[in-house]
């Protein structure tokens, strides 16, 4: 029975070691915000973070996730108010919404390392995430908006620390 650390909680799950993490998260732990799109690493709908890196949970076995910190859309922020989530609402990004958990998790991994990405960096980082509703331009805008907010927040944070 592998032990997983998901969104800060330790959970033991009943699954063979080779079970894709995706199905354990969705069906066993019933955290259904992480989506199944292709099962082949081609769409990004299943994106979660392992130790802060964006990975495709359909291509990650439970065994590979043991001992790492797993974050899903449910754990990205306490109240759904991560700068990206707020920007997603401000830009009215989602249409059907099915791809958007994966989009947000993929974008969050970028912004955690680089809060001032260029448009090309955004495209390169996000190109593996399909959106069949074609919300790409709003996704780009929302990422830029969130990045700006994060930079402003950390700038004011630094000032506060300085005083």
């Amino acid at each position: 029975m592998p032990n997983l650390n998901i969104n800060g909680r330790n959970m033991s799950v009943e699954a063979a070691n080779d079970t894709p993490l995706l199905w354990v998260i969705r069906e066993q732990l019933q955290m259904t915000g992480t989506k199944f799109g292709c099962g082949a690493g081609l769409c990004g709908a299943c994106t979660v973070h392992l130790n802060g890196e964006a990975v495709r949970s359909c291509q990650t076995s439970v065994a590979d996730a043991v001992g790492k910190k797993i974050t899903t859309i449910e754990g990205l922020s306490a109240k759904g108010d991560h700068p990206l989530q707020k920007a997603w609402i401000a830009e009215q990004v989602p249409q059907c919404g099915y791809c958007q958990s994966g989009q947000i998790m993929q974008a969050a991994a970028l912004l955690s390392k680089n809060s001032n990405p260029t448009k090309d960096e955004v495209v390169a980082h996000m190109d593996g995430n399909l959106c069949r509703c074609m919300t790409y331009s709003r996704i780009q805008k929302a990422i830029m908006r969130a990045a700006t907010e994060m930079r402003t927040a950390s700038a004011t944070g630094n000032e506060r620390r300085a005083t």
Binding site: L42, P94, D127, Y136, Q140
Partner: protein, 761 residues
């Protein structure tokens, strides 16, 4: 399939003859039509919890919950319906909530008499009914408030969920009125019809980009789609689909290896009397991961059936053969006599246009959860056609459709795919077989190879011009599978002009354009071979996605052949004469707007770049949103096409939510581009060859062009926006490619190889 379908529209659906009730139940104010079981029950019994049974209700806390009978697949239609209700009701947007309806006939579309979402019809067909429902609620609340306040109802003003009386400075919130229990009123159909609705200049809500109510839940993982359904005691099914798209049968199933998979329960071979699926087996197990393993371990022998040798090439050859027969097909348009006119024409042009098979591939793979509870079969899935899908599920279960309850979920993409009900069949038969609720989830491979695809189409267009280059004759043959005829519902077919029986207008819509052409034939020819081998469905925009590809390419070809500017040639043809009066002028204006916005004919473009135009009256003549596009492309010597910019203008009459419309139009335009350049499925040995997003490749972020969406709202009736822009983009790109490098490509998708070959030719 038909006998199940016939009895799905019970007699209770004609709402125009029913009274509209506003009454107070234990849970608040409920509003809906009389004689529909739910509302009578809600008002009479007033139980603490009643099933949502009416179009909207107002709770004692003032929250207004609108029940949406339309499938919400990203077009935010639930939110739009709430916005229309809120306008007339006078509710504050922050008090509005939405929920999704079950398949109860009381949620049927007031115009269509069924629960179906498609055709970009929803806003258009529900605007009036939802407006009246909102107004009726406001009147009932106002009268109750007037009685409580002791002032004349006529002096009250309603806004922001508050009813106020300025002279006495008294006011009551909706919540207070509902709590008073006094709001009760019945409207006869005539009274409902007589309600004076707001005129556009009085709108405070319609035309405003209020935030869509479903969006927050789609940023934090809480929106529930069909695939997210969890029922107590539920087990999982993974379908194993045959190598042939349609017509295979299972000869034998060897589950000896599957039995070694832990948690494996059973392999169920479908016995699908509805004919929706053929040769499917479901592996049932305690978890989805185990069901997948078991499915992989099954050894199944098939008889490939009659279509096992067919390929895209054979479907195309058959289409050409059928087109060549003088007596095949039925006439959709028959004006004048093109054949005679060709004889006297100064110039005749002929061309063939094709489109390949296309796959919907919504991001949420098909799925359904079925549970038998007592007499009732419960289906949980996101579906666009609850009325028919419930009947298919009933057919799969061998029960009467009235015992099926469809629980609607948010749709992880629809695009027409979820008009079909195939996913319910394995869920129902597996649940019946194992005696437990079963959730069936298709793999992406199942989803792609078993799609009810956009059919392969073949069109031949012949045009005749007089000595001045005026287009005097056009004959247009459209050969395809017939997606809507497959439903077996006569109401969705149209009579043919030549009285040769009903035809599937969803294969030729758009070909009855608004250009004035005195001699004009359109023939709809069913490709029976394609119809059987690749059961086709409604893919976002359906027929206009191919008819305008042919028409708008041909119009360009004619303009070039007669030395005219293709855009101005269109303007000339849109003269608004006769039956085209009104529509033609709107389309002309839209085209001119797009040309101006794009800098058509004024921007100097470098070598290898070009602009092309197209304009369309999608979806149907009667329900058109006037849409034009200028595509700006750069073509590399290799033939590779890069779209630099799409300028789209669309006349939608009235906008309910401008930002929502822009999102839909942009998404639709990008769908059009994706179909034009990147998406191609092929049939080989009876099966679809593309199985996942590595071989079937919709547009990704790196391929995104600049998209400029311009919405024209001129106060005409609201029209649909989810589809028309899909249809205008492919011909605009094709025409731009020609203007850039002189290469005319007549098949979709436009590939680099095809462009290169046409450049040389």
């Amino acid at each position: 399939m038909n006998e199940h379908v016939k009895n799905v529209t019970p007699e209770t659906t004609d709402l125009s003859r029913r009274s509209f009730l506003v009454g107070t139940a234990a849970t608040g104010l409920v509003l809906g039509y009389a004689g529909v079981p739910g509302i009578d029950h809600a008002l009479a019994a007033a139980p603490a919890h009643f099933e949502p049974s009416v179009w909207y209700s107002i709770a004692p806390d003032g929250l207004v919950t609108v029940t949406c009978g339309k499938a919400d697949m990203g077009q935010h239609v639930a939110s739009t319906m709430a916005q229309i209700v809120a306008e007339e009701l006078g509710a504050s947007w922050k008090d509005m909530r939405v929920q999704l309806a079950s398949n109860d006939p009381k949620f049927n579309d007031p115009v269509l008499g069924a629960q179906i979402t498609g055709g970009s019809w929803s806003t258009m067909m529900n605007f009036d009914a939802m407006s009246r429902a909102g107004a009726a609620g406001r009147m009932a609340l106002t009268e109750a408030a007037a009685a409580t306040m002791g002032v004349p109802a006529g002096e009250l003003v309603v806004g922001n969920s508050v009813i106020s009386h300025s002279k006495s400075k008294k006011s009551m919130s909706f919540a207070e009125v509902v709590k008073s229990g006094k709001a009760t009123k019945t409207f006869t159909p005539d009274e409902l019809k007589a309600i004076k609705l707001k005129s556009p200049e009085q709108y405070t809500m319609i035309g405003v980009s209020v935030p869509q109510l479903d969006i927050p839940s789609k940023t934090n993982g809480t929106a529930k789609y069909g695939i997210d359904v969890m029922l107590p005691g539920m087990v999982y099914g993974k379908v194993v689909t045959p190598p042939v798209r349609y017509g295979a049968t299972v000869k034998s199933v060897d589950d000896s290896a599957a039995k070694k998979v832990p948690g494996f329960i059973k392999a169920v071979t479908l016995d699908d009397k509805t004919g929706t699926t053929t040769g499917w087996v479901v592996a049932v197990a305690n978890t989805y991961a185990n069901a997948r393993k078991a499915a992989d371990a099954l050894k199944i022998e098939y008889d490939g059936g009659p279509n096992a040798k067919l390929s895209s090439e054979s479907l195309l050859t058959e289409a050409k053969r059928l087109q060549g027969l003088s007596d095949s097909g039925q006439f959709f348009v028959k004006d004048g006599d093109p054949n005679a006119a060709f004889g006297t024409a100064a110039k005749v042009l002929e061309a063939e246009y094709t489109t390949n098979i296309n796959i919907h591939a919504p991001m949420e793979p098909m799925n359904a959860t079925a549970e038998f509870k007592g007499d009732i079969l419960h289906i949980h899935t996101g579906n666009q056609f609850a009325t028919r899908s419930g009947a298919i599920a009933a057919g799969a279960a061998g029960i009467d459709p009235k015992y099926v309850v469809m629980h609607q979920m948010w749709l992880g993409g629809g695009f027409g795919r979820r008009l079909d009900a195939d996913m319910t069949v394995p869920a129902v038969q597996a649940a019946k077989s194992v005696g437990k609720p079963v959730k069936v989830i298709y793999s992406r491979e199942n989803d792609m190879t078993m799609d009810f695809s956009r059919p392969l189409t073949y069109q031949k267009v012949k045009a005749g011009m007089d000595g001045d280059g005026k287009l005097v004759a056009l004959s247009h043959d459209v050969v395809s599978a017939w997606p809507t005829q497959r439903w077996g519902i006569p109401d969705f077919l149209s009579p043919s002009v030549d009285k040769k029986g009903p035809l599937d207008a969803f294969t030729v819509n758009g070909a009855d354009f608004f250009y004035t052409v005195p001699n004009h034939y359109v023939r709809a020819i069913k490709n029976e071979m394609a119809h059987n081998a690749t059961p086709s469905g409604q893919l976002r925009s359906v027929a206009p996605g191919w008819t305008f590809w042919a028409i708008e390419s041909m119009i360009d070809e004619i303009a070039h052949a007669t030395g005219k500017d293709p855009a101005l040639f269109r303007v000339e043809l849109l003269d608004g004469k006769g039956k085209n009066d009104g529509g033609a002028q709107r389309l002309r204006n839209t085209l001119l707007a797009a040309m101006g916005l794009a800098g058509y004919g004024t921007l100097k473009l470098p070598k290898g770049e070009g602009m092309g135009v197209a304009c369309v009256s999608s979806q149907e003549r009667a329900t058109a949103s006037w849409t034009a596009c200028v595509a700006h492309v750069a073509v590399a010597p290799s033939g590779e096409v890069k779209v630099k910019k799409l300028t789209v203008a669309t006349d939608v009459g009235t906008q309910v939510n401008p930002d929502g419309i822009r999102a839909q139009v942009e998404g639709a335009a990008l769908w059009g581009m994706s179909l034009a350049l990147f998406e191609k499925a092929t049939l080989k040995d009876g099966g679809i060859e593309q199985t996942n997003f590595d071989s079937y490749t919709p547009l990704r972020m790196s391929q995104l062009p600049e998209v400029a969406v311009n919405v024209i709202a001129n106060g005409e009736k609201a029209t649909g926006v989810g589809e028309p822009a899909v249809t205008v983009v492919a011909p605009a790109i094709g025409n731009a490619v020609f203007n850039a490098v002189g290469a005319r490509v007549r098949g979709l998708p436009i590939t680099a190889e095809a462009v290169k070959a046409a450049m040389k030719a």
